[in-house]
Amino acid sequence: MKNDLQNLTADISRLYEDITQKAESLGQIDSITRLYDELQTQLQGIATEDVDLLQSQIKSTLEQMVGISKSLAVIKTLKMTLNGHDEIADLAKKGRV
Protein backbone atom coordinates (compact mmCIF):
# COMPACT_ATOMS: atom_id res chain seq x y z
CA MET A 1 0.00 0.00 0.00
CA LYS A 2 2.80 2.35 0.88
CA ASN A 3 4.59 1.62 -2.34
CA ASP A 4 1.40 2.10 -4.23
CA LEU A 5 0.89 5.47 -2.63
CA GLN A 6 4.44 6.45 -3.40
CA ASN A 7 4.04 5.38 -6.98
CA LEU A 8 0.77 7.25 -7.17
CA THR A 9 2.38 10.36 -5.77
CA ALA A 10 5.23 10.09 -8.23
CA ASP A 11 2.79 9.60 -11.06
CA ILE A 12 0.80 12.59 -9.91
CA SER A 13 3.92 14.74 -9.76
CA ARG A 14 4.99 13.64 -13.21
CA LEU A 15 1.54 14.19 -14.56
CA TYR A 16 1.38 17.62 -13.02
CA GLU A 17 4.70 18.55 -14.58
CA ASP A 18 3.44 17.40 -17.94
CA ILE A 19 0.25 19.36 -17.51
CA THR A 20 2.21 22.43 -16.49
CA GLN A 21 4.46 22.20 -19.51
CA LYS A 22 1.54 21.68 -21.80
CA ALA A 23 -0.29 24.59 -20.26
CA GLU A 24 2.74 26.80 -20.80
CA SER A 25 2.99 25.68 -24.39
CA LEU A 26 -0.70 26.29 -24.79
CA GLY A 27 -0.23 29.79 -23.44
CA GLN A 28 2.53 30.39 -25.95
CA ILE A 29 0.32 29.05 -28.68
CA ASP A 30 -2.40 31.39 -27.55
CA SER A 31 -0.12 34.41 -27.73
CA ILE A 32 1.19 33.31 -31.11
CA THR A 33 -2.35 32.92 -32.35
CA ARG A 34 -3.21 36.39 -31.15
CA LEU A 35 -0.20 37.88 -32.91
CA TYR A 36 -1.05 35.96 -36.05
CA ASP A 37 -4.57 37.33 -35.98
CA GLU A 38 -3.23 40.87 -35.63
CA LEU A 39 -0.82 40.32 -38.48
CA GLN A 40 -3.56 38.92 -40.62
CA THR A 41 -5.78 41.87 -39.87
CA GLN A 42 -3.06 44.33 -40.79
CA LEU A 43 -2.19 42.45 -43.94
CA GLN A 44 -5.76 42.46 -45.01
CA GLY A 45 -5.72 46.25 -44.79
CA ILE A 46 -2.98 46.43 -47.41
CA ALA A 47 -4.16 46.04 -50.96
CA THR A 48 -2.06 44.02 -53.36
CA GLU A 49 -2.48 46.61 -56.09
CA ASP A 50 -1.03 49.30 -53.87
CA VAL A 51 1.94 47.14 -53.13
CA ASP A 52 2.55 46.43 -56.79
CA LEU A 53 2.25 50.10 -57.70
CA LEU A 54 4.64 51.07 -54.97
CA GLN A 55 7.10 48.46 -56.07
CA SER A 56 7.03 49.68 -59.67
CA GLN A 57 7.54 53.26 -58.56
CA ILE A 58 10.42 52.26 -56.38
CA LYS A 59 11.99 50.39 -59.27
CA SER A 60 11.76 53.37 -61.60
CA THR A 61 13.13 55.65 -58.90
CA LEU A 62 16.01 53.30 -58.40
CA GLU A 63 16.79 53.31 -62.08
CA GLN A 64 16.77 57.08 -62.10
CA MET A 65 19.01 57.21 -59.09
CA VAL A 66 21.44 54.86 -60.74
CA GLY A 67 21.51 57.13 -63.78
CA ILE A 68 22.11 60.15 -61.59
CA SER A 69 24.94 58.37 -59.92
CA LYS A 70 26.55 57.60 -63.25
CA SER A 71 26.14 61.19 -64.38
CA LEU A 72 27.72 62.42 -61.19
CA ALA A 73 30.69 60.16 -61.79
CA VAL A 74 31.14 61.62 -65.28
CA ILE A 75 30.80 65.15 -63.96
CA LYS A 76 33.45 64.48 -61.40
CA THR A 77 35.77 63.18 -64.06
CA LEU A 78 35.20 66.23 -66.24
CA LYS A 79 35.62 68.52 -63.30
CA MET A 80 38.91 66.97 -62.41
CA THR A 81 39.96 67.11 -66.00
CA LEU A 82 38.99 70.69 -66.81
CA ASN A 83 39.16 72.50 -63.49
CA GLY A 84 41.54 70.24 -61.71
CA HIS A 85 44.15 72.88 -61.18
CA ASP A 86 41.81 75.08 -59.17
CA GLU A 87 40.75 72.19 -57.03
CA ILE A 88 44.31 71.13 -56.52
CA ALA A 89 45.20 74.66 -55.55
CA ASP A 90 42.32 74.77 -53.10
CA LEU A 91 43.34 71.48 -51.62
CA ALA A 92 46.89 72.72 -51.30
CA LYS A 93 45.66 75.83 -49.54
CA LYS A 94 43.59 73.78 -47.20
CA GLY A 95 46.55 71.57 -46.54
CA ARG A 96 48.71 74.54 -45.68
CA VAL A 97 46.16 75.98 -43.35
Partner: protein, 500 residues
Protein backbone atom coordinates in the same frame (compact mmCIF):
# COMPACT_ATOMS: atom_id res chain seq x y z
CA UNK B 1 24.68 71.32 -63.06
CA UNK B 2 23.79 74.95 -63.27
CA UNK B 3 21.62 77.39 -61.50
CA UNK B 4 18.13 78.17 -62.59
CA UNK B 5 18.61 81.78 -63.38
CA UNK B 6 21.52 81.30 -65.68
CA UNK B 7 21.06 82.18 -69.28
CA UNK B 8 22.67 81.25 -72.47
CA UNK B 9 24.74 84.38 -72.51
CA UNK B 10 27.64 83.02 -70.64
CA UNK B 11 30.09 85.44 -72.09
CA UNK B 12 28.33 88.40 -70.59
CA UNK B 13 28.56 86.87 -67.14
CA UNK B 14 31.55 84.64 -67.28
CA UNK B 15 32.32 84.16 -63.59
CA UNK B 16 28.91 84.65 -62.10
CA UNK B 17 28.28 81.00 -61.35
CA UNK B 18 31.52 80.51 -59.58
CA UNK B 19 31.04 83.42 -57.21
CA UNK B 20 27.73 82.19 -55.90
CA UNK B 21 27.49 79.43 -53.36
CA UNK B 22 26.51 75.97 -54.42
CA UNK B 23 23.73 75.60 -51.89
CA UNK B 24 22.23 78.94 -52.83
CA UNK B 25 21.56 77.48 -56.19
CA UNK B 26 18.66 75.46 -55.13
CA UNK B 27 17.87 73.52 -58.21
CA UNK B 28 19.81 70.50 -59.30
CA UNK B 29 19.32 69.23 -62.74
CA UNK B 30 21.04 66.51 -64.62
CA UNK B 31 23.53 67.88 -67.05
CA UNK B 32 22.85 67.10 -70.65
CA UNK B 33 26.08 66.64 -72.48
CA UNK B 34 24.84 65.02 -75.59
CA UNK B 35 21.65 66.69 -76.57
CA UNK B 36 21.22 70.24 -75.50
CA UNK B 37 17.94 71.34 -76.82
CA UNK B 38 18.38 74.84 -75.51
CA UNK B 39 21.27 75.37 -77.84
CA UNK B 40 19.41 74.31 -80.87
CA UNK B 41 18.60 76.99 -83.41
CA UNK B 42 14.94 76.31 -82.98
CA UNK B 43 15.23 77.37 -79.44
CA UNK B 44 15.03 81.10 -79.34
CA UNK B 45 16.73 82.75 -76.45
CA UNK B 46 14.14 85.47 -76.38
CA UNK B 47 11.40 82.90 -75.87
CA UNK B 48 13.20 81.12 -73.10
CA UNK B 49 11.64 80.90 -69.75
CA UNK B 50 13.92 82.37 -67.20
CA UNK B 51 12.62 80.00 -64.55
CA UNK B 52 13.71 77.01 -66.60
CA UNK B 53 16.57 75.51 -64.67
CA UNK B 54 17.95 73.61 -67.58
CA UNK B 55 21.37 74.58 -68.69
CA UNK B 56 21.50 76.29 -71.99
CA UNK B 57 24.54 76.02 -74.19
CA UNK B 58 25.24 77.09 -77.63
CA UNK B 59 25.76 74.45 -80.15
CA UNK B 60 26.86 75.19 -83.61
CA UNK B 61 24.88 73.35 -86.16
CA UNK B 62 26.95 72.30 -89.12
CA UNK B 63 26.04 74.03 -92.24
CA UNK B 64 24.91 72.05 -95.19
CA UNK B 65 27.74 71.21 -97.55
CA UNK B 66 30.36 72.32 -95.06
CA UNK B 67 33.04 69.86 -93.93
CA UNK B 68 32.74 68.28 -90.56
CA UNK B 69 34.34 69.63 -87.46
CA UNK B 70 36.53 66.64 -87.01
CA UNK B 71 38.20 67.22 -90.25
CA UNK B 72 39.73 70.39 -88.89
CA UNK B 73 40.15 71.82 -92.31
CA UNK B 74 38.50 75.10 -91.39
CA UNK B 75 40.37 77.38 -89.06
CA UNK B 76 37.15 78.60 -87.35
CA UNK B 77 36.12 75.03 -86.37
CA UNK B 78 38.85 74.59 -83.81
CA UNK B 79 37.99 77.93 -82.30
CA UNK B 80 34.45 76.78 -81.92
CA UNK B 81 35.56 73.61 -80.17
CA UNK B 82 37.68 75.63 -77.86
CA UNK B 83 34.76 77.92 -77.18
CA UNK B 84 32.58 74.96 -76.36
CA UNK B 85 35.15 73.51 -74.05
CA UNK B 86 35.53 76.84 -72.40
CA UNK B 87 31.78 77.07 -71.89
CA UNK B 88 31.75 73.61 -70.40
CA UNK B 89 34.55 74.54 -68.10
CA UNK B 90 32.72 77.62 -66.98
CA UNK B 91 29.67 75.57 -66.22
CA UNK B 92 31.71 73.13 -64.24
CA UNK B 93 33.07 75.99 -62.22
CA UNK B 94 29.68 76.35 -60.56
CA UNK B 95 30.36 73.55 -58.06
CA UNK B 96 33.27 71.88 -56.47
CA UNK B 97 34.38 68.28 -56.37
CA UNK B 98 33.35 67.95 -52.73
CA UNK B 99 29.86 68.94 -53.56
CA UNK B 100 29.80 66.40 -56.34
CA UNK B 101 31.08 63.74 -53.93
CA UNK B 102 28.45 64.64 -51.39
CA UNK B 103 25.74 64.47 -54.01
CA UNK B 104 27.01 61.09 -55.11
CA UNK B 105 26.96 59.85 -51.51
CA UNK B 106 23.43 61.07 -51.11
CA UNK B 107 22.45 59.28 -54.24
CA UNK B 108 24.00 56.07 -52.99
CA UNK B 109 22.17 56.40 -49.68
CA UNK B 110 18.91 56.92 -51.45
CA UNK B 111 19.60 53.92 -53.61
CA UNK B 112 20.23 51.75 -50.55
CA UNK B 113 17.10 52.94 -48.81
CA UNK B 114 15.04 52.40 -51.87
CA UNK B 115 16.42 48.93 -52.34
CA UNK B 116 15.61 48.12 -48.70
CA UNK B 117 12.12 49.41 -49.15
CA UNK B 118 11.73 47.31 -52.25
CA UNK B 119 12.91 44.25 -50.35
CA UNK B 120 10.43 44.95 -47.58
CA UNK B 121 7.68 45.27 -50.06
CA UNK B 122 8.65 42.01 -51.67
CA UNK B 123 8.70 40.36 -48.22
CA UNK B 124 5.32 41.82 -47.52
CA UNK B 125 3.99 40.23 -50.62
CA UNK B 126 5.57 36.92 -49.64
CA UNK B 127 4.12 37.22 -46.16
CA UNK B 128 0.73 37.82 -47.56
CA UNK B 129 0.99 34.71 -49.65
CA UNK B 130 2.22 32.76 -46.62
CA UNK B 131 -0.70 33.97 -44.52
CA UNK B 132 -3.14 32.98 -47.17
CA UNK B 133 -1.56 29.52 -47.41
CA UNK B 134 -1.55 29.18 -43.60
CA UNK B 135 -5.20 30.12 -43.47
CA UNK B 136 -5.92 27.52 -46.06
CA UNK B 137 -4.04 24.90 -44.03
CA UNK B 138 -5.85 25.92 -40.84
CA UNK B 139 -9.17 25.64 -42.56
CA UNK B 140 -8.19 22.16 -43.72
CA UNK B 141 -7.53 20.94 -40.16
CA UNK B 142 -10.43 18.76 -39.09
CA UNK B 143 -12.24 19.73 -35.94
CA UNK B 144 -12.32 16.18 -34.66
CA UNK B 145 -8.76 16.57 -33.45
CA UNK B 146 -9.91 18.77 -30.62
CA UNK B 147 -12.60 16.39 -29.47
CA UNK B 148 -10.49 13.33 -28.93
CA UNK B 149 -10.16 13.83 -25.20
CA UNK B 150 -13.33 13.24 -23.26
CA UNK B 151 -13.16 14.61 -19.76
CA UNK B 152 -15.62 12.10 -18.44
CA UNK B 153 -13.98 9.10 -20.03
CA UNK B 154 -10.26 9.57 -19.54
CA UNK B 155 -9.52 6.05 -20.60
CA UNK B 156 -6.27 7.19 -22.08
CA UNK B 157 -5.21 8.77 -18.81
CA UNK B 158 -5.87 6.34 -15.98
CA UNK B 159 -3.73 8.27 -13.54
CA UNK B 160 -5.72 11.43 -14.01
CA UNK B 161 -8.89 9.44 -13.77
CA UNK B 162 -7.75 7.99 -10.46
CA UNK B 163 -6.94 11.45 -9.16
CA UNK B 164 -10.37 12.72 -10.08
CA UNK B 165 -12.02 9.77 -8.45
CA UNK B 166 -9.98 10.28 -5.31
CA UNK B 167 -10.95 13.93 -5.13
CA UNK B 168 -14.60 13.05 -5.57
CA UNK B 169 -14.27 10.43 -2.87
CA UNK B 170 -12.74 12.96 -0.53
CA UNK B 171 -15.58 15.38 -1.08
CA UNK B 172 -18.26 12.78 -0.67
CA UNK B 173 -16.82 11.45 2.55
CA UNK B 174 -16.31 14.88 3.96
CA UNK B 175 -19.90 15.73 3.27
CA UNK B 176 -21.13 12.44 4.69
CA UNK B 177 -19.05 12.91 7.78
CA UNK B 178 -20.26 16.43 8.35
CA UNK B 179 -23.87 15.43 7.80
CA UNK B 180 -23.54 12.47 10.11
CA UNK B 181 -21.93 14.54 12.82
CA UNK B 182 -24.60 17.19 12.54
CA UNK B 183 -27.41 14.64 12.64
CA UNK B 184 -25.99 12.90 15.67
CA UNK B 185 -25.46 16.13 17.49
CA UNK B 186 -28.97 17.38 16.82
CA UNK B 187 -30.92 14.19 17.46
CA UNK B 188 -29.04 12.49 20.27
CA UNK B 189 -27.53 15.32 22.25
CA UNK B 190 -30.27 17.39 23.77
CA UNK B 191 -27.82 18.74 26.31
CA UNK B 192 -25.80 20.21 23.53
CA UNK B 193 -28.13 23.20 23.43
CA UNK B 194 -26.33 24.63 26.41
CA UNK B 195 -22.65 24.89 25.78
CA UNK B 196 -20.72 23.96 28.86
CA UNK B 197 -17.58 25.97 29.19
CA UNK B 198 -14.92 23.69 30.49
CA UNK B 199 -11.35 24.15 31.39
CA UNK B 200 -8.59 22.31 29.71
CA UNK B 201 -8.21 19.94 32.63
CA UNK B 202 -11.91 19.16 32.94
CA UNK B 203 -12.54 17.57 29.56
CA UNK B 204 -10.21 15.59 27.38
CA UNK B 205 -11.58 17.13 24.22
CA UNK B 206 -10.79 20.63 25.26
CA UNK B 207 -7.39 19.52 26.41
CA UNK B 208 -6.67 17.98 23.04
CA UNK B 209 -7.90 21.09 21.31
CA UNK B 210 -5.79 23.17 23.53
CA UNK B 211 -2.83 21.04 22.71
CA UNK B 212 -3.59 21.29 19.05
CA UNK B 213 -3.51 25.04 18.92
CA UNK B 214 -1.42 26.04 21.88
CA UNK B 215 1.68 24.81 23.65
CA UNK B 216 0.91 21.83 25.87
CA UNK B 217 0.96 22.16 29.64
CA UNK B 218 4.01 21.01 31.49
CA UNK B 219 2.24 18.30 33.43
CA UNK B 220 -1.18 16.76 33.26
CA UNK B 221 -2.59 14.93 36.23
CA UNK B 222 -4.66 12.32 34.49
CA UNK B 223 -3.30 11.52 31.12
CA UNK B 224 -5.50 9.17 29.22
CA UNK B 225 -4.41 7.15 26.28
CA UNK B 226 -6.06 9.60 24.02
CA UNK B 227 -4.11 12.43 25.50
CA UNK B 228 -0.98 10.31 25.28
CA UNK B 229 -1.34 9.78 21.61
CA UNK B 230 -2.50 13.31 21.08
CA UNK B 231 0.40 14.61 23.05
CA UNK B 232 2.77 12.43 21.11
CA UNK B 233 1.48 13.86 17.91
CA UNK B 234 1.13 17.37 19.24
CA UNK B 235 4.68 17.50 20.42
CA UNK B 236 5.47 17.68 16.74
CA UNK B 237 2.52 19.88 16.02
CA UNK B 238 3.95 22.59 18.15
CA UNK B 239 6.72 23.02 15.63
CA UNK B 240 4.22 23.47 12.89
CA UNK B 241 3.09 27.05 12.36
CA UNK B 242 -0.51 27.70 13.13
CA UNK B 243 -1.20 28.66 9.57
CA UNK B 244 -0.30 25.23 8.33
CA UNK B 245 -2.29 23.50 11.08
CA UNK B 246 -5.59 25.21 10.64
CA UNK B 247 -8.47 22.86 10.99
CA UNK B 248 -9.46 21.90 7.51
CA UNK B 249 -12.80 22.35 5.86
CA UNK B 250 -14.11 21.79 2.39
CA UNK B 251 -13.25 25.29 1.34
CA UNK B 252 -9.72 24.77 2.50
CA UNK B 253 -9.49 21.56 0.58
CA UNK B 254 -10.82 23.24 -2.49
CA UNK B 255 -8.50 26.18 -2.27
CA UNK B 256 -5.52 24.27 -1.10
CA UNK B 257 -2.82 23.36 -3.52
CA UNK B 258 -1.77 19.75 -3.35
CA UNK B 259 1.65 18.59 -2.46
CA UNK B 260 2.63 17.61 -5.92
CA UNK B 261 2.08 21.17 -7.06
CA UNK B 262 4.74 22.48 -4.77
CA UNK B 263 6.95 19.56 -5.56
CA UNK B 264 6.56 20.10 -9.24
CA UNK B 265 7.35 23.77 -8.81
CA UNK B 266 10.42 22.86 -6.85
CA UNK B 267 11.33 20.32 -9.46
CA UNK B 268 11.04 22.81 -12.26
CA UNK B 269 12.93 25.45 -10.35
CA UNK B 270 15.84 23.26 -9.41
CA UNK B 271 17.77 21.72 -12.24
CA UNK B 272 18.14 18.03 -11.90
CA UNK B 273 15.62 17.70 -9.17
CA UNK B 274 15.24 14.42 -7.45
CA UNK B 275 12.33 12.20 -8.00
CA UNK B 276 9.33 12.27 -5.76
CA UNK B 277 9.96 8.81 -4.47
CA UNK B 278 13.37 9.86 -3.30
CA UNK B 279 11.88 12.88 -1.65
CA UNK B 280 9.41 10.71 0.14
CA UNK B 281 12.11 8.38 1.31
CA UNK B 282 14.07 11.34 2.59
CA UNK B 283 11.25 12.66 4.70
CA UNK B 284 11.91 12.54 8.42
CA UNK B 285 10.03 9.94 10.35
CA UNK B 286 7.84 11.83 12.73
CA UNK B 287 6.85 9.14 15.20
CA UNK B 288 9.18 6.81 16.94
CA UNK B 289 8.44 3.21 17.70
CA UNK B 290 7.15 3.79 21.20
CA UNK B 291 4.56 6.20 19.97
CA UNK B 292 3.76 3.88 17.13
CA UNK B 293 3.03 1.08 19.57
CA UNK B 294 0.59 3.27 21.40
CA UNK B 295 -1.47 3.74 18.30
CA UNK B 296 -1.49 0.10 17.25
CA UNK B 297 -4.35 -1.67 18.95
CA UNK B 298 -6.62 -4.54 18.27
CA UNK B 299 -9.29 -2.87 16.30
CA UNK B 300 -10.84 -3.44 12.95
CA UNK B 301 -9.05 -0.46 11.55
CA UNK B 302 -5.68 -0.92 9.94
CA UNK B 303 -3.70 1.18 12.34
CA UNK B 304 -0.39 0.07 11.01
CA UNK B 305 -1.30 1.51 7.67
CA UNK B 306 -2.19 4.79 9.30
CA UNK B 307 1.00 4.90 11.30
CA UNK B 308 3.03 4.02 8.24
CA UNK B 309 1.30 6.77 6.35
CA UNK B 310 2.02 9.23 9.08
CA UNK B 311 5.58 8.06 9.14
CA UNK B 312 6.01 8.27 5.41
CA UNK B 313 4.11 11.42 4.69
CA UNK B 314 4.07 13.14 8.01
CA UNK B 315 0.93 15.14 8.41
CA UNK B 316 2.28 16.51 11.61
CA UNK B 317 5.68 17.30 10.23
CA UNK B 318 6.65 20.95 9.99
CA UNK B 319 5.88 21.93 6.47
CA UNK B 320 6.86 25.54 6.27
CA UNK B 321 8.54 28.34 8.00
CA UNK B 322 6.33 30.28 10.33
CA UNK B 323 5.08 33.45 8.81
CA UNK B 324 4.48 36.59 10.77
CA UNK B 325 1.07 37.15 9.26
CA UNK B 326 -0.05 33.70 10.20
CA UNK B 327 0.11 34.29 13.91
CA UNK B 328 -1.67 37.59 13.96
CA UNK B 329 -5.25 36.32 13.67
CA UNK B 330 -4.63 33.75 16.37
CA UNK B 331 -3.27 36.27 18.79
CA UNK B 332 -6.11 38.66 18.23
CA UNK B 333 -8.86 36.21 18.99
CA UNK B 334 -8.16 35.53 22.70
CA UNK B 335 -8.60 39.18 23.50
CA UNK B 336 -12.10 39.18 22.13
CA UNK B 337 -12.83 35.93 23.89
CA UNK B 338 -11.65 37.35 27.16
CA UNK B 339 -13.79 40.40 26.70
CA UNK B 340 -16.76 38.19 26.06
CA UNK B 341 -16.01 36.20 29.15
CA UNK B 342 -15.80 39.34 31.24
CA UNK B 343 -19.11 40.49 29.90
CA UNK B 344 -20.81 37.18 30.52
CA UNK B 345 -19.11 36.66 33.84
CA UNK B 346 -18.21 33.07 33.19
CA UNK B 347 -15.09 31.19 33.91
CA UNK B 348 -12.15 31.87 31.62
CA UNK B 349 -11.93 29.77 28.53
CA UNK B 350 -8.66 28.42 27.22
CA UNK B 351 -7.06 30.00 24.24
CA UNK B 352 -7.68 27.03 22.03
CA UNK B 353 -11.38 27.26 22.66
CA UNK B 354 -11.42 30.96 22.23
CA UNK B 355 -9.89 30.64 18.80
CA UNK B 356 -13.08 28.90 17.75
CA UNK B 357 -15.63 31.41 18.91
CA UNK B 358 -18.33 30.63 16.39
CA UNK B 359 -18.08 26.90 16.59
CA UNK B 360 -21.60 25.70 17.20
CA UNK B 361 -22.50 24.17 20.49
CA UNK B 362 -23.67 21.13 18.64
CA UNK B 363 -20.17 20.05 17.79
CA UNK B 364 -18.83 19.87 21.29
CA UNK B 365 -20.78 16.71 22.19
CA UNK B 366 -19.81 15.22 18.90
CA UNK B 367 -16.20 15.55 19.76
CA UNK B 368 -16.89 14.10 23.16
CA UNK B 369 -18.66 11.17 21.62
CA UNK B 370 -15.82 10.53 19.27
CA UNK B 371 -13.26 10.70 22.00
CA UNK B 372 -15.34 8.47 24.24
CA UNK B 373 -15.66 5.99 21.45
CA UNK B 374 -11.97 6.16 20.91
CA UNK B 375 -11.45 5.51 24.56
CA UNK B 376 -13.78 2.56 24.45
CA UNK B 377 -12.06 1.07 21.45
CA UNK B 378 -8.65 1.96 22.69
CA UNK B 379 -7.80 3.76 19.55
CA UNK B 380 -7.09 7.41 19.34
CA UNK B 381 -7.84 9.40 16.24
CA UNK B 382 -7.40 12.85 17.53
CA UNK B 383 -6.57 14.49 14.19
CA UNK B 384 -9.74 12.97 12.79
CA UNK B 385 -11.61 15.64 14.67
CA UNK B 386 -9.91 18.23 12.66
CA UNK B 387 -11.99 18.19 9.49
CA UNK B 388 -15.23 17.88 11.45
CA UNK B 389 -14.77 21.14 13.22
CA UNK B 390 -16.36 24.06 11.57
CA UNK B 391 -14.09 26.78 10.53
CA UNK B 392 -14.52 29.92 12.60
CA UNK B 393 -16.29 32.55 10.64
CA UNK B 394 -14.15 35.29 12.02
CA UNK B 395 -11.12 33.80 10.38
CA UNK B 396 -12.59 33.49 6.93
CA UNK B 397 -12.23 37.07 5.71
CA UNK B 398 -8.80 37.31 7.24
CA UNK B 399 -7.67 34.17 5.54
CA UNK B 400 -9.19 35.31 2.30
CA UNK B 401 -7.08 38.41 2.50
CA UNK B 402 -4.04 36.45 3.49
CA UNK B 403 -4.25 33.94 0.69
CA UNK B 404 -2.29 35.87 -1.92
CA UNK B 405 0.47 36.61 0.56
CA UNK B 406 0.84 33.07 1.76
CA UNK B 407 3.77 31.20 0.30
CA UNK B 408 3.18 28.00 -1.54
CA UNK B 409 5.32 26.18 0.90
CA UNK B 410 2.53 26.28 3.48
CA UNK B 411 0.48 23.98 1.29
CA UNK B 412 2.94 21.20 1.54
CA UNK B 413 1.51 17.92 2.57
CA UNK B 414 -1.96 18.78 1.42
CA UNK B 415 -2.24 15.70 -0.72
CA UNK B 416 -0.86 13.56 2.04
CA UNK B 417 -3.31 15.11 4.41
CA UNK B 418 -6.13 14.36 2.04
CA UNK B 419 -4.99 10.79 1.60
CA UNK B 420 -4.71 10.31 5.31
CA UNK B 421 -8.04 11.91 5.83
CA UNK B 422 -9.50 9.42 3.38
CA UNK B 423 -8.02 6.56 5.30
CA UNK B 424 -9.09 8.04 8.58
CA UNK B 425 -12.55 8.70 7.28
CA UNK B 426 -12.79 5.16 6.07
CA UNK B 427 -11.60 3.97 9.43
CA UNK B 428 -13.99 6.14 11.32
CA UNK B 429 -16.75 5.18 9.06
CA UNK B 430 -16.00 1.53 9.56
CA UNK B 431 -15.51 1.87 13.27
CA UNK B 432 -18.15 4.28 14.29
CA UNK B 433 -20.70 4.79 11.67
CA UNK B 434 -21.94 1.21 11.63
CA UNK B 435 -21.93 1.02 15.41
CA UNK B 436 -23.79 4.25 15.77
CA UNK B 437 -26.35 3.32 13.15
CA UNK B 438 -26.81 -0.12 14.69
CA UNK B 439 -27.13 1.45 18.12
CA UNK B 440 -29.74 3.81 16.80
CA UNK B 441 -31.68 1.00 15.26
CA UNK B 442 -31.43 -1.12 18.36
CA UNK B 443 -32.50 1.74 20.57
CA UNK B 444 -35.45 2.47 18.34
CA UNK B 445 -36.49 -1.18 18.32
CA UNK B 446 -36.12 -1.45 22.09
CA UNK B 447 -38.15 1.69 22.62
CA UNK B 448 -40.84 0.41 20.30
CA UNK B 449 -40.92 -2.93 22.07
CA UNK B 450 -41.12 -1.33 25.48
CA UNK B 451 -43.91 0.94 24.32
CA UNK B 452 -45.80 -2.00 22.84
CA UNK B 453 -45.38 -3.96 26.05
CA UNK B 454 -46.61 -1.08 28.16
CA UNK B 455 -49.62 -0.49 25.97
CA UNK B 456 -50.44 -4.20 25.84
CA UNK B 457 -50.13 -4.54 29.57
CA UNK B 458 -52.39 -1.62 30.14
CA UNK B 459 -54.93 -3.04 27.73
CA UNK B 460 -54.89 -6.52 29.17
CA UNK B 461 -54.76 -5.56 32.82
CA UNK B 462 -57.37 -2.84 32.79
CA UNK B 463 -60.29 -4.28 30.84
CA UNK B 464 -60.96 -7.67 32.73
CA UNK B 465 -60.53 -6.15 36.20
CA UNK B 466 -64.31 -5.38 36.95
CA UNK B 467 -65.46 -8.86 35.88
CA UNK B 468 -62.98 -10.58 38.12
CA UNK B 469 -63.86 -8.29 41.02
CA UNK B 470 -67.54 -8.96 40.54
CA UNK B 471 -67.00 -12.71 40.36
CA UNK B 472 -64.83 -12.76 43.43
CA UNK B 473 -67.29 -10.64 45.38
CA UNK B 474 -70.25 -12.87 44.42
CA UNK B 475 -68.39 -15.92 45.63
CA UNK B 476 -67.31 -14.53 48.95
CA UNK B 477 -70.43 -12.53 50.08
CA UNK B 478 -73.81 -14.08 51.13
CA UNK B 479 -76.92 -14.08 48.95
CA UNK B 480 -78.79 -11.31 50.76
CA UNK B 481 -75.99 -8.90 50.17
CA UNK B 482 -75.53 -10.03 46.55
CA UNK B 483 -78.11 -7.56 45.32
CA UNK B 484 -76.34 -4.62 46.81
CA UNK B 485 -73.02 -5.78 45.42
CA UNK B 486 -74.50 -6.39 42.03
CA UNK B 487 -75.96 -2.90 42.05
CA UNK B 488 -72.62 -1.48 43.03
CA UNK B 489 -70.91 -3.47 40.29
CA UNK B 490 -73.45 -2.29 37.73
CA UNK B 491 -72.92 1.27 38.79
CA UNK B 492 -69.18 0.84 38.50
CA UNK B 493 -69.51 -0.62 35.03
CA UNK B 494 -71.77 2.21 33.96
CA UNK B 495 -69.34 4.77 35.34
CA UNK B 496 -66.44 3.10 33.53
CA UNK B 497 -68.39 3.01 30.31
CA UNK B 498 -69.19 6.66 30.73
CA UNK B 499 -65.59 7.47 31.42
CA UNK B 500 -64.55 5.47 28.38
Amino acid sequence: MVEGSSTCEIKNRPRLLKKRSFYQRYSWQPFCFVDDKCSSPAHNSAEKDLTNPMLTAHRQEPRSGAPSLTAGTQPGGFAKVLTSIQGLQQRLDGFSVDEANQAEANVHTLIEKLSLLEMKLSRLAELKQFVSSANRLISEIPEENFEQVDLNGLENHPQLHAILQASKLIRVHKLMQAAKAGAEAVSFDPQAISLPIQTSESSPVSSTEHMLLSPPPTSLANETEVSDVAGASNSRLEKVPEQSWVLGTEADLDNAEPLFVARAMQGTAAAGAESTAQDISKLPKPIDNGEKNLAVRDTGFDERLLSDLIQAYGEFSPVSKPSAGATTPKTASPVSAESEIRRSGKTPVPAAESTVPNSPSVQEPVRENLVQESESTGFALVPANVPILAKPELERPERATEKPTLPKVTKHGELDRQLKNIIKDYGEYDLYSHQSSSNIKMAALAAFAVLALVLGGLYFFKSPAPATNAASSSITQPSDASRTTEDAAGRALQSEKQTK
